[in-house]
Symmetry: C2
Subunit: 308 residues, 2 copies
């Protein structure tokens, strides 16, 4: 049996999740689709943009999603199995700090960092720091069963804006299906991100994802599950900071604050630059959540990013 | 300058953190000490122990620590830099589920798993599953500045029961010093643990740690910081489950529940076995904490553990 390859171009997108969206494509189990994907803020951020422009952006234009795609035979209770065959990205990217978002409340001014992504392996940052690029789609999801229009920002039982940085080429995500045909869409390409995405943004960019679809019939998943090849082991290992608190959220905040403090002191970065660096390249991990009453969260960053 | 090597045997230990403990050894910056370490429950769990014995154990005999060691020249405000030169472990290990502890409240019966650790690379588990061993000290810490006796269980500004699984051979931990001489102790050898230590225990065992000490004068750390070589990349990558909730703790619980459900179904394990497997080998990671109002926590397990 020959499977067709399909493409969805950048003019074909929708905002919001809605089971009433009309599919732009119908495919069968086993078929591959290339999704050409706009950046998360619908071209609102350009090379000429400044931090102040962040306050003027149109929130209704967040998360343009490529799709939706109707998968023949998909039924509620099934899992839609999405193989990530490839993810590519454009030459321009950005990372924003927006007051009221991000895990640290002390960042009270909008801040914008712009990335040159012409080299597809690493992106140059300040002071000789280089970010290894590992692209994935922040959003992969299906339509919910509830009627109406739902914001894309929060992930949920339908997958969606999961921001799982491990969903790079070679990985697979299983997403519970809620309506016949599933209605899958993808969006929000990230050239790189750390576990936690702590300042709000990854390296946000436009790009494309080549995805192959299968059905796991009657899988009855309670939530998305995935396989991933995982990270390369850094040659120079990791630097880690800790946060310790009876509140898991506060422990996470403290570990990131300590990493920002370490990065500003050691690599002569501003606090905003260090916060952005954490968001795109450092990993928030729960080291222990059982040593009552104090939990310990670690923020880990690869030492390969830094010049010798 | 020749540095002496020192050893603290298993008869030399203390319970609790207390700045009034008398040092068992005084060393200089740059010296190495081998700490011979009892298991976390002071030989309370033996090869013949049963789950019911967990309810009869003496809580006062938790966390026997080897030490304390007085480091000449250490002053409040310094960081004690501890290089992990080697960690070894005995041939017997155990992992306990104790109701009221661990992140999942639905485990209401004591459960005890016993490990054969004669092979120092991997420990056999049920159904052909093998756990790669990666030993470290759950506890490395210094005396607090406050007067009195403090339980070892909660980690804090003094380090202590940090349970950072990355502190294996080749890693370094920096711990803030609070009193002159620091009074460093180590304990709680773990042959393997996952990020989170979700059921309460790692593979608990007796063993030894060879540690070298330095001072980072006037470092003024807000909490422990570390370097680590990090993990080997699994040949077969990872399997991940997700938990999604506005509450980071609940998101973590749900991701572990979904992993337990996956493991019981896929590898024919009991729920208790799967919970233990998560605690000793699966990693809890905050994938995103910024997509309001829902955070997404992942629990990831290496697929190399499982038979083909």
């Amino acid at each position: 049996m020959t499977h067709l390859a399909h493409t969805i171009d950048r003019k074909t997108f929708h905002y919001k999740w809605n089971r009433a969206h009309k599919p732009v494509l119908k495919i069968s189990d086993g078929e591959t689709v290339t999704f050409d994907i706009n950046d998360v803020w619908s071209w609102g951020i350009k090379k000429t943009s400044k931090a102040e422009d962040l306050t003027r952006l149109d929130l209704e234009k967040l998360y343009p999603l490529a799709g939706p795609v109707y998968i023949e035979g998909a039924e509620p209770g099934d899992a839609l199995v999405v193989e990530v065959l490839d993810v590519t990205f454009d030459n321009f990217g950005w990372t924003a700090v927006v007051p009221g978002f991000g895990i640290l409340d002390e960042f009270q001014k909008p801040y914008l960092y712009k990335w040159d992504l012409r080299n597809k392996k690493v992106a140059p940052f300040e002071n000789g720091i280089k970010i290894p690029l590992s692209p994935f789609c922040g959003v992969m999801g299906v339509a919910p069963d509830e009627k109406g229009s739902f914001n894309v920002a929060p992930p949920g039982k339908h997958g969606g804006n999961m921001d799982i940085r491990y969903l790079t080429k070679g990985s697979t995500i299983k997403i519970p299906v809620w309506i016949p045909g599933a209605l899958f869409s993808a969006g929000d390409v990230h050239a790189a991100m750390g576990d936690g995405e702590v300042c709000l943004c990854a390296i946000e960019c436009a790009g494309a994802a080549k995805l192959r679809f299968h059905l796991d019939k009657d899988a009855r998943l309670r939530g998305p599950q995935y396989t991933t090849p995982g990270d390369k082991k850094p040659k120079k290992g990791y630097y880690g900071t800790t946060g310790i608190s009876p509140d898991l959220w506060k422990a996470m905040q403290e570990s990131v604050r300590n990493m920002i403090s370490y990065l500003t002191k050691t690599y002569d970065l501003t606090a905003e630059e260090a916060y952005v660096l954490c968001s795109v390249a450092a990993d928030v991990r729960v080291h222990e959540a059982v040593d009552k009453p104090n939990w310990l969260v670690g923020t880990m960053i690869s030492r390969d990013l830094f010049p010798d």
